[in-house]
Symmetry: C2
Subunit: 373 residues, 2 copies
Amino acid sequence: MKIKIKQKVLLEHLNYAIKGISSKNLIPILNCIKFELTDEGLYLLSTDNEIAIKTFIDKDKIDSIDEVGELVISGKYIYEIIRKLSDEVINIEEVIDSQVLITTQSSSFKLNCIDPKEFPNLELEYVNEPLVLKQNVFKSAISQIIFATSTQESRPVLTGVNFKIVDNLLECTATDSYRLAKRKINLSNSLSNNVDIIVPAKNLNEVIRMLVDDSKDIELHIFVNKVVFKFGSLIIMSRLINGTYPDTNKSIPSSFTLKINTNLNKLYNAIDRASLLTNEEEKNIINLSTSGDIAYITSNIPEIGNVEEKISIKKNNDEEIKIAFSSKFMMEAIKNFDCDEIEISFNGEIKPIIITASNNDELIQLISPIRTF
Amino acid sequence: MKIKIKQKVLLEHLNYAIKGISSKNLIPILNCIKFELTDEGLYLLSTDNEIAIKTFIDKDKIDSIDEVGELVISGKYIYEIIRKLSDEVINIEEVIDSQVLITTQSSSFKLNCIDPKEFPNLELEYVNEPLVLKQNVFKSAISQIIFATSTQESRPVLTGVNFKIVDNLLECTATDSYRLAKRKINLSNSLSNNVDIIVPAKNLNEVIRMLVDDSKDIELHIFVNKVVFKFGSLIIMSRLINGTYPDTNKSIPSSFTLKINTNLNKLYNAIDRASLLTNEEEKNIINLSTSGDIAYITSNIPEIGNVEEKISIKKNNDEEIKIAFSSKFMMEAIKNFDCDEIEISFNGEIKPIIITASNNDELIQLISPIRTF
């Protein structure tokens, strides 16, 4: 393999490929990036067995392809070296005894390589009928719910996001069993098969971080045991989590004893301040109580002091509520709404709290109250 | 005590006062900020026994002083509360049973206070003849050398910066015994007594972070066991480190077998890249060797690979040098020069390397070479 390529061009794509490498991986080949140089351009591949990333640099962006071939190089070293070289043309050339020479006018690096045959076959296949979404729609949907996934490995299915498609409706759901976040997306056309998969939250986070071109499409190619994301010059494969995702729709009530509407920012800031006088060990409990068109948010740490915040609300009837919940969970839930007013719905002090935008329910956040005595 | 004050004004000064509090302090009173409200304005005081900070808000910036008095409040809580309140007028009022009420239109915090008598007397005195420097001169001098102080408590004097004044010359020195950084400042007038003190690096870092008004003066009031810094609305007291600072001037040779001059940025970037193939456990050793008007910088990690960087140099004679040193130490030393060209002086491969700007020696950096076999 022999190539001349501008530092900026190579670095842009190494920035993607490096995301497929886990710094904690003990298997040397999984710390490497594979360079595949063809007459069409340069592919960079990386995988840590959880996620696989393939990015493509078209021949038009390459200064010269002198000899096609394959190379497998330590990801960390090649990334840092290219990152620290100045913006000029870099020569990369395979030399004898599995070594690669990386040179510019003043720098000359010689790195040991690994036999490309040892690199895993990534099987980045496509289905005929992918799920196609605008990148900004996919990104905002995932961002609005992914925080509610569990980080506990004791129930693996809860560490992922559930994608469920029935007819024209895609539901993305995340829950850690104390709270739940669900985002609905109406698809312009239905897939021939229904979908019900669980994608690891960690990998979804990597995917949404790499989305840059909001107006363009992202394709999800869904298989039994993996999903392949395709967008721009990138192909990312994630394994799926085995198991059955809980039927979350039955946890979300459809009728409520009380609904209140209020300004999102004012509520967020009031809870943020009240949370100063809560303890993390005690789940950051705060109290909310209504009295007419005012809601009071209170909390205290006996040895420090107490706080009372007031906000204006609109109620749908004369009921009042007095309920306690985690300020952290409430703040994480409400900050993901992209609207001015939100609606919070109650069925008494021991039933789940449901939060939606005041004018639509495409995003539903659920929080379990905390019983206090 | 009773005051009305804008959130922005109070927060600006709490930002200073909070720096006097160590989060690790187990003595409750040392986690507190003292509010002293007089007819002239509001003083905020904090100390962790290593550093003490006093800041002043003039009455002109206060909305109303309703009742003078003193209050001692948990620093962490009052800081976070004021930070999270919106930019409006805040009422702060002492109420019965050592409690303070902090209120705005929608928020009401009640915090427990500590008896002001328990707060240490800070003794922020002045001398008649302080050392006076421009803030930008002081800040750049300290920034250029402070990284060379030791973090090891085994030799306490090396954890501070030595300020030495003889006649009209101030020398600020830092060393961890492997490297040394010295900055000379010519004073416009001499003090009547010579000065030789050691100021803890940690406290100096806090002081230079609070300097914002480069063109104004900073006063150093030097006592036997403390130094009081005075600038803007701030007074900061630091304890001094007891002990005798080593006589560092005899470590700095005045004649050299070889001097080379080179471009600072090119040298820095070459060492930065070469350092990629060094090990921290092995002190990040890199090699520098000259051959005519070229210097080669090389390093290697046998299992990964090797690197050779070339840079142009100008020499003062026909001698050549081959020497090894820590890339980390060299990068930290040279990045603090504010010039394009630097001069590196040698006395063979086992004697200290001296670095200065090419055109003046107000800043001297010394690095011990590392013997390799």
